[in-house]
């Protein structure tokens, strides 16, 4: 689906991508990881046809620069930082729907609803006035509504609250099994449950390329109960953010659900209160 041979990209004399070779097959879900400046964003921009380069790059067997319409019509892209678009939500939705035969305002609305964003209610607001999470949800909805064969996301769930994140990951797990994904992230744990392969970049070269076993429970909702040794505002806030409910009217015991794909993230957040946890069960 994506073939990269000897890809080199320089800015002036600075080499950003150095003789890079990578093959991505249909349905693979790849975490593209690496430090800042490793070349992740540059690689994504090459795949989107934004940069000229040395070496061969083909997406669906086509050159993404020369056949940009054909290639980009099959790619969904979600940037890390929402750009300062001055359009209203309504205008942006109409604009995006108008660029692809496969997208429509209705579809975008449905995807946004699933992520917890009401497009009709927020239609008159300018994109800039939305919160970070709402912007991210809208950009994800716009990308998914195009039913892309390849989904490219830069820090995909960075601005999402746990609820939006769960809905987003669940959707990706269930509905987009055949979609090839390229998820750029600083942290593997953010996307570990979702991916099948990790590609690590460093100084423009691939330093790690490994297959990952996907957990069976990744797409399921898990029941969880936690008991803390003493009530604490911080634990209360974390539990609330995951929509956990206090049991027996006190703030010592909580009950709730989270997505299997979010297990590592959930445990990481809880690890801050490890000394305060006296009982934890996950089923």
């Amino acid at each position: 689906m994506i073939n990269i041979k000897n890809l080199t990209k320089k800015f002036g004399k600075t080499v950003i991508l150095d003789q890079l070779n990578l093959e991505i097959k249909k349905g693979e879900r790849i975490a593209l990881v690496g430090q800042n400046g490793a070349g992740k964003t540059t690689l994504i921009r090459v795949l989107l046809g934004h940069y000229l380069h040395d070496g061969d790059v083909s997406v669906f067997g086509l050159d993404p620069r020369n056949k940009r319409i054909e290639v980009l019509d099959r790619i969904g892209f979600v940037p890390q930082l929402p750009p300062p678009i001055q359009m209203t939500v309504e205008e942006l939705t109409a604009f995006s729907a108008g660029t692809s035969q496969k997208s429509s305002r209705k579809k975008i609305q449905e995807y946004a609803d699933n992520l917890g964003l009401d497009i009709i209610k927020n239609g008159k607001k300018t994109f800039q006035k939305l919160s970070g999470g709402m912007k991210q949800k809208l950009l994800i909805a716009l990308a998914l509504a195009r039913e892309p064969d390849i989904l490219i996301m830069d820090e995909p769930a960075a601005n999402l609250d746990p609820q939006g994140r769960q809905a987003f990951l669940l959707y990706l797990m269930e509905k987009m099994k055949d979609t090839t994904m390229l998820l750029s992230s600083h942290r593997v744990d953010e996307v570990l449950s979702l991916i099948t392969r990790i590609v690590e970049l460093d100084f423009g070269r691939i330093v790690q390329d490994e297959q990952v076993e996907i957990g069976e429970a990744a797409g399921q909702m898990l029941d969880c109960q936690i008991t803390f040794s003493s009530p604490n505002d911080a634990t209360g806030r974390v539990m609330e953010s995951w929509h956990f409910q206090p049991m027996n009217g006190n703030k010592l015991e909580y009950k709730g659900q989270f997505l299997g794909a979010d297990k590592l993230r959930f445990m990481t957040e809880l690890s801050h209160f490890a000394n305060n946890i006296i009982k934890l069960s996950i089923n």
Partner: protein, 275 residues
């Protein structure tokens, strides 16, 4: 084509909400109102009075400030989107580079031309209410002149916007180009001519190539067919092209120049890295 108009519509809607557009409207709408309020229709210059007098003042005002206002407002188009990552996002959608670039050009042309054209309409309406004679031939020619002036400087603005990497550079370059064009109108070239430092044909050639000069002479040509109030380079050009030829030149040359610069901008935009 559908996407091009979609880009144009989106850019137009965004720009209409911007402060610069409000100020731009205020300047040109306000200028007409101010000229009426100051009683300029009552005064006389070169034998002209009434609405013709007002129009000649308005067009002179436009020739002086419109180029720089157009440059400042359009120079951000590509480079601004590039800096803010808006360009990266929109060009990750299936939009051709041509649709994106020319969509912006169409939108910006409407944005810069329509307010000044409406200001002319406002003058006609006001003149009609006041019972003044309406010089349709002047209005027609001035509309054409303002249209080509807008197009020409829009082309220059889009070229600068495609070439520079930072908005500040774009703004600086715009002001520099505007100043250079102002310097090379024949009122200043006359100094060189009088000192006999540069041969006459070079001075005439420079004046002829300067679009600002074309507007300046075009603006007064209808009122002053001998160009007595303009510098020597204009006389030579007028002598060579004739009255009608010069009139045609003042609208055709900037129009072609606008296409040339916008085309060059598109070529530059298309052939390199997009960011």
């Amino acid at each position: 084509m559908k996407i091009l108009f979609q880009v144009a519509r989106a850019d137009f809607r965004e720009s209409v909400r911007a402060k610069w557009f409000f100020i731009y409207n205020l300047v040109f709408g306000g200028a007409i109102i101010l000229l009426f309020a100051l009683g300029i229709t009552e005064s006389r210059v070169l034998g002209f009075t009434g609405l013709s007098r007002l129009l000649i003042t308005y067009i002179q005002l436009c020739v002086a400030i419109l180029p720089i206002l157009i440059l400042i407002s359009t120079v951000r188009s590509v480079v601004g989107d590039r800096e803010s990552n808006v360009l990266e996002y929109f060009l990750s959608m299936p939009i051709s580079l041509a649709a994106y670039f020319w969509g912006k050009v169409v939108s910006k042309f409407i944005l810069v031309f329509v307010p000044i054209f409406f200001a002319l309409i406002l003058a006609i309406i006001w003149g009609a209410i006041k019972g003044l004679f309406i010089p349709w031939n002047i209005i027609g020619y001035y509309s054409l002149l303002l249209g080509t002036l807008s197009w020409c400087f829009l082309g220059i603005g889009m070229l600068i916007s495609s070439v520079v990497k930072r908005q500040e550079w774009g703004l600086g370059l715009s002001i520099l180009i505007w100043l250079i064009l102002l310097l090379f109108i024949d009122a200043i070239l006359i100094g060189l001519m009088m000192q006999h430092k540069i041969i006459e044909s070079v001075i005439v050639g420079v004046a002829l190539l300067n679009p600002m000069m074309a507007f300046r002479t075009g603006a007064v040509l209808l009122f002053d067919p001998e160009l007595t109030a303009i510098g020597p380079a204009s006389w030579v050009i007028l002598d060579a092209l004739g009255f009608k030829g010069f009139l045609a030149f003042t609208v055709t040359y900037p129009f072609l120049l606008g296409w040339f610069f916008a085309g060059l901008g598109y070529f530059r935009f298309k052939r390199g890295d997009l960011f």
